[in-house]
Assembly symmetry: C2
Amino acid sequence: MMFDHDADKPVLDLTPEQSWNLLEHTSHGRLATAVGGAVDIFPLNFGVSERTIYIRTAPGEKLAALTVHDTVAFEADGILSDEAWSVVVHGTARQLQTEAEIEIARATGVSPWTPTQKESWVKIEATNISGRHFIFGAQPESF
Amino acid sequence: MMFDHDADKPVLDLTPEQSWNLLEHTSHGRLATAVGGAVDIFPLNFGVSERTIYIRTAPGEKLAALTVHDTVAFEADGILSDEAWSVVVHGTARQLQTEAEIEIARATGVSPWTPTQKESWVKIEATNISGRHFIFGAQPESF
């Protein structure tokens, strides 16, 4: 993907299409949840299908956080020595219930970090996506 | 750092010392905030000194989120093809006010992703740190 920064602009706002394209080629992200004002963050692998994010999880803290308060934020990024990108999705999380939905989720090829016998699937439906691409280097000195 | 997993245990809980050591050798993380139930997540560079996390930011959304609701979660990770680690810190965020504090923050060598002329420093004082190390590979099939 080409990132055409305007001259002297180290930060480029990405289009939703560019942002989804980056997510579709990434497998690792972080999910942020807030339950009763207690914010938490979970690293996880994910899959993307039809602009929806799929994650597999075991019953527990993360799944409970999603069930109690379904508004979440999700982030993935890619960092090289001289450039980086980051995509943030805001949306709602919902546990998958039907076999048809779970088939779609499985087809994204996501595998969890933590081996889990008990399989729970959650999808994140995006209400907003934003992405930025950064060129490192000539940063102004701070005073 | 050596990660001594018990036989057949793909996940290893790290000690606080191991977790801080990983953070001290990492420059990129993500900060999760919750304001009025609206969870958000920000990629950023950070520094560590005396088991405190320092970030530099411009006035705006992120700084406002920290000021309104100072309980935050912070995550950093490292991912290789066959192993990964992740460290999560829960704590409180506070904007630095004194030049003495800002000197400590500057000395950590953190540089922001987004060039910023106006310099605001925030520190995250940890109330809890947890780290895990994962060995990928032989994961049980899910049913």
